[in-house]
Symmetry: C2
Subunit: 406 residues, 2 copies
């Protein structure tokens, strides 16, 4: 190996997850073991902190502190919504050069992978030896190449446990209950609601995903049918559901506010859920209809982590360092599922992961487009780890006395 | 003791909690130990199941099943929103008589205590020996006499962990974040958001309770001030906040739908949060403003239980049986806090607990009416038990190179 002795820079971009700090701490711990690594820096607030040279010197962070941070949800370095263009990436490269950064790790989604791709191109053009690795994270599970993304398992566990709970609540006081779940284009997180089922008639009884067009008429008919069957109905709806023309249903109600990426704001508003509840009330006449929007709890709730997800998030962080520092490679760390269930880690090309995202494959969605398949359950179950056991009362019924007499 | 040999009937009323089944199982297990108890019945769907004689024979429930049910959130017997009048209570009494029920335990809030009061009066008038015990539960913590209510601690733990998480999220991607918390007239659960703070600048930075009038102008000024101070602002708002005339702020936005108790619907809609977010956006010009409404997760999320709360909920169930079967008494089981922190259990009169509810005492609310006091923290901390530890990165900053040069 003939890598130059240089420094490591790690940063976190995009929406936080419950285990994003596991990857971060994996990078830091592993990087500190290599002789060719000088200092290990962490940029505050993602790429924007790089431009501001706002760095922590993590060479001087303690192990107890780093381990506590690893177990803390949400980006410990803090994050950014900046989506760098070529000009921005040149500035990143300049700062890296000034600080003798030879290994850059960016933990994020497909936008962060694209930043890595451009920074890598710019440093290559300049003949500056710098390894650039994208470390995957997203609660939406919408990255290409990899079997699944760190961050998804814990968010999926939260959604599963939330639905297991509200299903028990709805069983105690029947009515229609619907909850809006995160996921702009990919329905994985909404689909995870199915993992909270245990008894055959447990909810969610209906699941609506962004991968299938959402029609009011069919929705209302579905709810009616389930309510007649079960005397109640629990529904999971993706915030990203679209009509037959691909237009977001939510855009009709939220005033169409756009975030810095030009996307219509979906999270942080209850408008979609409230509207769907109103549709059910008006069209079915059912009295008790309630809507919740899970919102930011899904990605940041303190104390709901999938142990599988935490382990894998740590692993991708450490692997990233092996690929870059040990093997002098650039790319995006990805996971391949083998057997039932083990993971092999490999390095995908940055341009394979950058920019574009994936959706739920058709085999995970039922024919009617209102539930998931067994194939999805088999795919997702190992990712969330154990969820708490719950049980119904199992006891014989008592013979009626007064009513029999009548 | 000269109690008649008779049967036990237990039921659950009102909104579920995470530990209401601990009390239920406490009653069942303890009742099955007494020789003067024949069968132990559980009514499905609260008082409405009594009228329908819809009983489980819990004498034949197994211990593993009962213990699993105890650890399951939401009323295992299922619940009702029925609020019985005298006529209804006479019907309850008739069914009890027909089934030789000599001990009736109703687990619920102040409405359930009132049901107990009336049923007790009716059975006394009829000269029918039946002990009636109210077993307290509520996430709102608004029962009279008792120091606090089983169910509150776990809901408070959920709210604390939720705010700890969204505070970390808001720190990673700054902006204004507000979340609406349950609690129609009492602010205890919203106040519990303060228990998620650890660092001096952790959110929630503002807490609005139903006990203090909510003014738009002061609210907007508070948010502006906190945003200027911290570069971000996390806010906890009770769903029950009212204007200076005592009118619910939420009533302006929810269309004023009323539940079966004649209360305006507050839960199961995101309208209040969305409106407050719009106020902040319009009046402050801050770009990133998000609102969540925690909704039903607060009382039913699977996997967020305060161990203290679970233990106390079990205890009130068992004590209820001792008071009724062992000592031939009627009343409402209550808790007295002694030392720091232990609980003594005693029996309050039913008419002391029935109908009326309490609010947060003034000493728990700060002068400005936008936060809690240390006295509240001291009161509430022991009730939620341990919450997960979280930590920030502790490492020195790196000297800037490029920016220094400029």
């Amino acid at each position: 190996m003939s890598e130059p002795i240089g420094n490591v820079l790690v940063a976190q971009g995009g929406g936080p997850t419950a285990v994003i700090n596991q990857s971060f701490v994996g990078v830091v711990h592993e990087a500190r073991k290599f002789a060719q690594v000088g200092r290990v820096y962490g940029a505050a607030h993602g790429v924007s902190g790089i431009l501001n040279e706002d760095f922590y010197d993590l060479t001087e962070a303690t192990t107890p502190n780093l381990e506590a941070v690893a177990n803390t949800p949400s980006s410990g370095l803090r994050s950014t919504r900046d989506k760098p263009d070529v000009e921005y990436c040149r500035e990143i490269f300049k700062v890296c050069q000034a600080h003798n950064v030879r290994y850059f790790f960016y933990i994020g989604g497909n936008d962060s992978a694209d930043t890595c791709r451009i920074v890598h191109e710019e440093s290559s053009k300049a003949g500056y030896a710098m390894r650039v690795i994208h470390v995957p994270k997203t609660v939406d599970n919408d990255l290409k190449v990899t079997d699944h993304c760190p961050g998804f398992g814990s968010a999926a566990k939260f959604v599963a446990q939330a639905f297991a709970g509200v299903n028990l609540d709805n069983r105690a006081i029947p009515g229609v209950y619907l909850a809006v779940v995160m996921g702009r284009h990919a329905g994985f997180l909404t689909a995870a609601s199915a993992l909270g089922r245990q008894y055959p008639d447990d909810g969610p009884h209906l699941i609506y995903l962004p991968e299938r067009p959402f029609e009011k008429k069919r929705f209302v008919a579905d709810v009616k049918k389930m309510y007649e069957k079960h005397g109640r109905c629990v529904i999971a709806v993706s915030e990203g559901i679209v009509d037959s023309k691909g237009k977001a249903i939510a855009a009709q109600f939220t005033g169409g506010e756009r975030d810095s990426h030009g996307n219509v704001q979906l999270s942080g508003t209850g408008a979609l859920g409230d509207c769907l509840a109103t549709w059910v009330k008006e069209e079915t006449g059912i009295g008790r209809v309630r809507a919740d929007t899970f919102g930011y709890l899904q990605r940041s709730f303190l104390g709901c982590v999938s142990e599988v997800d935490a382990r894998e998030a740590r692993e991708v962080g450490e692997r990233a360092v092996h690929f870059a520092v040990g093997h002098n490679l650039d790319g995006s760390v990805a996971m391949k599922r083998v057997g039932d269930y083990a993971i092999e880690y490999f390095l995908a090309r940055l341009d394979q992961v950058a920019r574009h995202s994936t959706e739920m494959p058709a085999k995970f969605i039922n024919k009617d487009g209102n539930d998931v398949t067994e194939a999805f359950i088999k795919y997702a179950r190992p990712l969330i780890g154990e969820i708490p056991h719950f049980e119904r009362i199992s006891a014989p019924k008592v013979k009626k006395i007064l009513i029999r007499k009548k």
